[in-house]
Each structure stands twice: as C-alpha cells, then as structure tokens.
C-alpha cells in the first residue's frame, strides 16, 4: 500500500467516491465549471437543476447562418442535446445534423480553455489580465493606433454582437471591418440585386409544382436548409411537385431530383437561355418579354445549347415543356451555376426563366423588411478578404482581429494569406478551438461556445416576417477561463467610450437592454422583465414587417453569355468542383466527431477527403476506387483517393471542402485534403468574388492505393431485393394519403 503511495484511508475514499459517483450520476451535483462530480447530498441543487428531469431552454443554433431556433435539453446543469424549436418559423421544430453537433463543440476535448500568447513560434498559456493588458498595449489609446491601421475580420455576423463590433470599429475610427465567408452567397446576391432589387427573394417551394434548380443545393447547404427541407416536404406532398436539377456534380438536392441533368460547369446560363428560347415558342411568353431579350434568347437554339452544355438537345426542349406544363414553377440558381467568371450573368439568365414564366410574385417573393438595420445580417464575401489581404500585404495593418473565420485555412494559396498575415505585427484571434488562423496569431482569446453564451441573430433568409433569434446559455460555462465574445467586445468598446457604455457591466445587460427596446415594435404591453423572460422562453422575437418589393429587371446586355464558353486547356483538362458538404460547410466544423463519422449522403465516405470521378472517365484512365490521384491546378496539387461516382459530369472532378486541417484538434487534424488550397485566381467579373468552380485541374494516377473508408458495402445497388421501391408519380395517389 505504502509503496503505491496510497494509504488505507485514501483507498477507502477512492472506493467511496467510485461507489457513490456510480450511484449518483443521475442525481449528484456536477460542477459545470470543472466538470468534477461533487459527492454531496442533493439538498441544494442549483436553481435550474431538477434532478433526474430534463429541462428545455430555447436558444438559437449558430452552426450556420440560418439561425434556426433550437431547444436545448439540459439535465443536471449540462446541455445534452439540441432539438428544433417548434415556435421558430425557420426550424419549425426540426434540426439538421450540423445543428445537433453543436453540443460536441461545447464539450470538445480540444477546446481552448485559457488565453494563449505567442512566444517565439509557440503559443503559451497566459492569464486574462496579461492578455487584456497586451491587448490594451497594442490597440488601446496609448498605442496610438489609427483606425486605418486596424482591421477586424469576422465571419457573417448579425444581431447585437455585430452592432457591438460596429461600435468598437467606430470607437477606433476604423472602417476596416471585413466580413468574410469562404463559401459565400455574394454572387447570387449580386444577381438578385440586379434582377429583383433585393439580396435574396423569398422562394415558395411549397407553392411550386415544378422546381428547376441550377446547382442549388437548397436541401443541403443553401440559405436555410432546415427550412427548405420542410418546404420541400410540402412540395412533395400532393399534388406532388417535380424537381429537376441541372448541375455538374450531384448534390444532395440533385440526389432527390426526378430528373438530374449533368452539365458542363459554367454553361448553366446557356442552358437556361436555351430553355427560354424554347419557352418563347409560346406566344403568351413572348408577349410578356421585352423584344431585346427575345432577340438575345433567339440565338440560343437547341443545337447551339447542346454543343455548349453537353446536354442532349431534346432535354432542353424537355425542360421547357415541363415548365410549360407545370405552373406555377420555380427556377433557382445555386452555387455551381454562380461560381464562375460570368456567375452573375449565369444567375441572371437562370432568373430570367422566372420572369418569363411569371413566377415573380407567385413563387418568387419578397422577404420581410427588417425594421432593425443595425442588427441585420451582413453576409460575408470573398472580395472582403481579398481587399483586406491586399492591404495587409502592403503592411498597412498594425493590428488584426479575427473572429468567426479561418482565412488561413480557407484562403486559396495563391493569395499568400498566411504570409501576409505574418506581416501584421499584432494579430488577435477569438476562438473556442485553435484553428489554423489562431495558430498564426499573437494572442488567442478563448471564447464561449454558442451554447454557453448570450447573443442574438438574424438570418438573411427569413421565411415569414422577421425572426430575431435569441441565444441564451444552456449551461454554465464549462471552462472557467473562457469569456463571452460579447463581454470582451464590450470591454474593448469601454476602453475608448467608457462613459457611453458604463450602464452595462456585461454583454448580458447590454443585450437585455437592446432586446427590451424592441418591446414597442412587437406591441408588447407587460413589463420589461416579463418581456425579457418571454423572449428567453420562446427563444425568438417574431416581428411582422412589410414585405420587400421585388422587381424583375433584365437587361439584354447583362445576359449576354456568348463569351462564357469554357477555355480549353489541354494541360488541365478537368473542371474542379470543390463541393460543399452539408455537414462541413467551409470546414469550421471538422473537429466534431459526429460530423466526421456521419457519412456523406452520396458517397457515404467518412473521416476523409475523396475525389469523385465518373466511372467512364475512371475506366479510360485505368482508375479504380481507392487509387490515389494527384489532382493539380496551376496553384497546387492534392493527393487524394478516387471514388467512382456516376453523378458527376465526365469532365469534372469533385473534391469536398472542409477537410485537410492542420489544426483544430484531434478529430480534424490530418484528415483529408483542403481543396481551397489549389483554387485558381479566377474571379467573378462583376463582383470580384472568387469563381469557386472556375479552377481547371489535371488528374494523374499515382499508383498507390488505399481503401476508401465508407459506409457503403461492395455493392451499391439493391441486388434485386425490394428495399427501396420506386413508384411512378402518375400511379401514386398521394392525395388519398394521410
């Protein structure tokens, strides 16, 4: 006993602890800060702890920008699971896998638990006092930093944190708030603004009888996947709508299409105009269309379109016939149509179909006009990072703050972002786990995760009215040395504007004041306190607001796609499709085990990157599944396993985004490759956004081979078993169903 350093008394204590913690896991007290189980009689639980019972708290999911309302299931002071908040118009009580995984971000073993400061090449732990002192030293009034010399990079933001960041920028006199999203809807927004006059119209999937989607993965990744999935379910109920998907690589939405049409990347606009040409055979459509557009569209006859797009000519007519037959319809453009040099034109050509078909005002509608512009969402763009990077490369910035974005990981290598970032003398990252960008920073501040923190969010796609989603902590903070991003920002603002903000000791009070101020807008009559608790218990403020006006402006000149023919480069014969996985997005969630182990819906690959290649192409190159391929663009090369995938254009190679992390902890590190790295500097010409689908690559078989880790077995068909049965839509009698 004495040799092992345990005496009898200790031994008994250990026994007692083990025994009682076994007995008490259900009713013992868990110290939420240290996670240590406290052995004590359960006479004094915390207010919110009902031993043995789950309590649900309303909050908001921040895993993507959709701002779904969620309910957190809390048990003994720990949040265990998220469910959808039925009151939320966005989530409608549902939740996606990505949202579910938010609790894993909270309990992630690789979370940053204390401030880190760079010493030499390494980040070493420090204290908050020292960290804030350093922050004050570098950016405080004494540092003499000017607004010009300061930059703040964030991901898409909204709500009161955005307002606070804006206030901080104002206090510094800086305009350098760069809102960056690696996978951004900016090109689509630009097209929408030209056509409809709004960033994003409201799409009524449920009202449409036919949806023609040009590469829009609205079920997986788009503006609001959970909402669109619910709309899609209604669309599929009687009278059952038909979904036609036109895209180079099958997305999850494409997998559910009644007709999936592979197309040469970038020629979606041409196809749309070809369909328009067919539609204009109907006199009533011609009457509704301006003559110059008719003249332009007439150039796109079946054969021309077929040559350009690689789609059989009769399919152009077929899609047009379907659109003629089934009204109202809805035509959507998506990422794979927009991520090209002529992305805006493509999108506009696609939206033109909505105009011709008279869908505008029916299935394409305006969103509610938010009455709170200061907390309205600012969608991120690539152009913002590009501008920032250029200025940073010139050595302009003395201090850079980064929050909610990981540009070192997501910026293509041609930008040299990492090198430029090093030129800035003081970089601060606000993160909950150390990512690639944080690794480059001089000061890394640990912030609370979404389930520990207060906040507010406004989604940029609002299905009904305006929903201000309120985020409240579902548990006490897990790590004592982490702080709320709002608190930090408030402290920073107070450095220069102490007087104005002295009323608010913390972000909570700031948020509460701000939320209570909304009371008159929603015509709430009870006390402030009641309103606040009402808001917290519902997790949202639903505001009725007037609809935005939606126009339909098309100029023939803007639609000219004659120069959009893809450039053939024999050295790089393949189109690279960096596809966005619905669970990974730009890769910020790669450190969540559940998501790594959740198979990709179409390939069922897990824990890896892979290159999708059409079996025909693979056969001609002698490639079989698991062969390592060298996929090289002008800007880099990736070595990745091949997966033979019939749902891809034979001239395209697709690698999913989100993997290939060098940081972000044990679940993300060393898994797969990062296709962001090899993107070519091809930009959308009117917005300056990177053309995600504009990169050309070469493919070479390396000779080495490894098993592709996937859920799928050796066969990918049903082998004659009656597992999934398909019924023709004209036979099914959905209207008689319950």
């Amino acid at each position: 006993m004495s040799e092992s350093g345990i005496n009898r008394r200790d031994f008994l204590k250990v026994l007692g602890l083990g025994g009682s913690s076994l007995a008490l896991t259900g009713c013992g007290n868990t110290d939420v800060q240290s996670g240590v189980e406290v052995v004590m009689p359960n006479v004094h639980p915390e207010d919110f702890v009902v031993p043995g019972l789950s309590v649900f708290y309303a909050s908001t999911c921040t895993q993507c920008g959709s701002a779904c309302g969620v309910m957190g299931r809390v048990r003994e002071g720990r949040v265990l699971k998220l469910e959808g908040n039925p009151e939320s118009k966005i989530s409608g009580g549902k939740i996606c896998g990505l949202g579910q995984a938010a609790v894993q971000a909270q309990y992630n073993p690789d979370r940053l638990t204390q401030p880190m400061v760079k010493e030499g090449d390494k980040l070493v732990p420090t204290t908050w006092e020292k960290a804030m002192a350093l922050l004050d030293d570098k950016t405080g009034p004494k540092s003499g930093i000017s607004g010009e010399q300061f930059a703040f990079v964030t991901g898409a933001t909204s709500g009161h944190l955005k307002a606070l960041i804006q206030n901080y920028m104002d206090s510094l006199g800086s305009k350098n708030h760069f809102v960056y999203e690696a996978v951004s809807p900016a090109i689509g927004f630009a097209a929408n603004r030209q056509v409809y006059g709004v960033d994003m119209p409201r799409l009524h999937l449920d009202k449409a009888k036919l949806i023609v989607s040009f590469g829009s993965d609205f079920l997986g990744t788009g503006a609001s996947p959970v909402h669109f999935a619910r709309e899609y379910a209604k669309f599929r109920k009687a009278p059952r709508g038909t979904l036609v998907q036109i895209e180079p690589k099958m997305t999850m939405t494409g997998a559910n299409a009644d007709r999936w049409i592979p197309i040469i990347p970038g020629t979606e606009g041409v196809f749309a105009l070809g369909v328009a040409n067919e539609l204009l055979n109907h006199e009533e459509y011609v009457r509704a269309t301006s003559p110059d557009i008719v003249a332009l569209v007439r150039k796109y006859d079946r054969e021309t379109v077929s040559r350009a797009t690689g789609v059989r000519p009769e399919l152009v007519a077929h899609v047009a016939a379907l659109l003629w037959e089934k009204t109202p319809s809805l035509v959507i453009s998506g990422a794979s149509a927009e991520g090209h040099v002529h992305g805006v034109q493509n999108a506009m050509a696609i939206q033109l179909l909505n105009k011709i078909l008279g869908n505008v005002g029916k299935t394409v509608d305006g969103q509610a006009q938010s009455p709170f512009p200061q907390i309205a969402p600012s969608a991120g763009s690539f152009a913002a990072l590009k501008a920032m990077n250029d200025e940073m490369g010139g050595g302009k910035f003395k201090a850079v703050f980064i929050h909610g974005a990981n540009p070192v990981f997501t910026a293509p290598s041609f930008m040299g972002f990492r090198e430029n970032l090093r030129k800035a003398p003081f970089k601060v990252a606000f993160v909950d786990a150390i990512d690639e960008t944080a690794q480059e920073c001089d000061l890394v501040l640990p912030i609370l995760t979404a389930v520990e923190d207060f906040g507010s969010h406004v989604a940029w796609y609002q299905p009904e009215g305006v929903e201000v989603s309120i985020q409240q902590p579902l548990m006490e903070k897990l790590h004592a040395d982490t702080r709320s991003m709002g608190d930090i920002m408030l402290d920073l603002v107070k450095v220069r504007r102490a007087e104005e903000y002295k009323a608010w000791p913390d972000f909570f009070s700031y948020l509460k004041t701000a939320v209570v101020a909304v009371k008159p807008v929603v015509k709430y009559t009870d006390t402030d306190e009641h309103f606040w608790y009402d808001v917290l218990s519902h997790g949202l403020i639903q505001v009725d607001a007037p609809q935005q006006e939606v126009g339909a402006n098309f100029a023939a000149a803007a639609l000219d796609l004659s120069s959009s023919a893809p450039v053939q480069d024999p050295k790089f014969p393949f189109y690279l499709i960096p596809s966005e996985r619905h669970n990974f997005r730009d890769g910020r969630h790669a450190n969540l085990g559940w998501l790594q182990e959740s198979p990709d819906p179409l390939t069922t690959v897990v824990w890896d990157s892979w290159a999708e290649i059409h079996p025909k192409t693979a056969a001609s190159m002698g490639i079989s599944e698991g062969d390592y391929l060298e996929i090289a663009s002008q800007n880099g090369m990736l070595k990745v396993k091949a997966y033979l995938f019939p749902g891809i254009h034979p001239d395209a190679i697709s690698i999913p985004l989100g993997q290939g992390h060098e940081a972000l902890g044990r679940f993300a590190q060393g898994v797969g490759v990062n296709p962001f790295r090899i993107l070519d500097p091809v930009f959308e010409k009117s917005t300056g956004e990177i053309a995600m689908y504009g990169t050309r690559v070469s493919v070479r078989k390396t000779g080495s081979k490894e098993t592709v880790v996937k859920d799928e077995g050796p066969y990918n068909t049903q082998l004659g078993r009656k597992l999934v049965v398909t019924l023709p839509a004209d036979v099914a009698q959905l209207s008689k169903e319950i």
């Binding site: 265990l80 998220l82 299409a257 009644d258 025909k616 098993t707 597992l723 839509a729 036979v731 169903e737």
Partner: protein
Amino acid sequence: MSITNLLNNWSFYRNKRPYRGQYDLNRQYGEYKWAMAVDLDICTGCNACTTACYAENNLPVVGKHRFEHGQVMHWIRIERYWDEKMGEFPEQGTSFLPMMCQQCEAAPCETVCPVAATSHTNDGLNSQNYHRCIGSRYCSANCPFKVRYFNWWNYPSTAWPAPLEDQLNPDVTVRTKGVMEKCTFCVQRLSEAKSRARTEYRLVRDGEVLPACAQACPTGAISFGNIVDPESKIAKMWKNQQVDLYKDMQEKDNTVRGYRILEDLRPFPSVMYMERVRDAEA
C-alpha cells in the same frame, strides 16, 4: 406452482405472435404497440437522424480505422442505392433508405439469443438487455437487416475523451465492450412518456413522444406513434397504406405506397416504408 401454472395457461403459452388482439387498448400491458412509418419520397438523405441518434443514445464515435473495419455503431444508417438499370448517369437521382432496427414482431434475433438478452416487450419493442448479453453475436448473425451493432472495443474508455463524456445522456446506458446494441425506438423517451401518462390516468397522446430521429428529421419523413390507438396518425397511415401488422405478406393496391422490407422472411417488421415516387415523365 409451475405445473399448475402450465396446465392452467397452456393455451396462452402456446400462442404464436403476432396474433390479432395481441395489442388492444383495453388490455393492460397491451395498450401500446410502437410503430414507425418512413416516407422514402421525402427523405433527403441528410443524416440528421443519424446524428440525432448519436446525441440521444450515447453512440460512440469509433474513428476512421474502426469504421474501415466495419465496427461503426450507427443505430440508424442512411443507405444509398443506385438504380440497377442506371445508364451513364443517375438520371432519376438516387434512393436513400434510413435503416434502423425494424422492431420485428417475429424477430429472428430474439429466438436465437442463448441467454434471452433480447426479447419482446409488452409494447411490441424488440428489447436489448445489455447486462444480460454475453456477446455471442448470434442475434446479429441472424438479423436480416443487419442493424445490430456489437461493441468490439471498450468504447467507454476511448470514445469520449474528457469532457466529451459530459454530453452523455444519463437516461441511456453507456455500453461496455462485448455487448450487442441496437436501435431501441428511444425507449427511454417512451418509458418517460408512459410513466407520465400513467400518473395522469391516461394513455400517451399521439405525438407526445417521438424518437430522436423522428424529432430531428427536417422533412418529417419519419412518423412514429402507438399503432394500437386507431385515432393515432401512425395507425391511420398504416391503414391508409394497407399494411397490416399481423399479416406476413401484404396484399395491396398498386397505387398504395406502403410496404415492409424483406417481408418474404416473415419477420413482421414494425417499420413501414413508403415507396419513393419519381416523376417518370420528368
């Protein structure tokens, strides 16, 4: 006395299941029969159900290497099948099939377990008794759907590095190495709902309780409920789809979508699937 017991109740002990009247609202311990319906036409294959199941049922994340060796523990999995007659491209999309334990009424797994660790509950669930299981894996061998998952490793010690274990659901056992596990229809939720209902002298209301997958499913493709209650949505759906719990092979109209998978093996599954619909003219 057991011989008296045998003689008195012989005919009861000789009943084959399922028999009509086995579940009855008026019968104590027969008033629930949990059943599911999965609409394959609106399942988008998004895997929200899978992740929800991981969260609810303390499923371990096994990691790449073990996944490669087929030791993954997803109680519900989304299968993706290409059309057998597919040409160069999958022009009609693909087929997704969420597959979880079918809670068969005549479950092939139950008869073969040597220690009776898996058997039928009164509310028609195929239960798995972890502390009775000795890990012979015969149930998995005999499961035609292959939805039983065995703990090949000691996951409690590896799968939840601290503080991930704080996420574990205290209502659900964390399974140790050497036991079989599978979808339970979230029996912890069902028990809670039943017990709540009992204290209020009523039965569980339709929609009062859902398994994690059904609750999460963004399109609502998974429906769940007590099929004994003729007013419940699930009972109406089964009836409408002409799927009869007590029949091994269904006779139904061509226009009706309901079916149960691998009916030819006569396991009487409690999960009804509804056929995928595709617009052949599109």
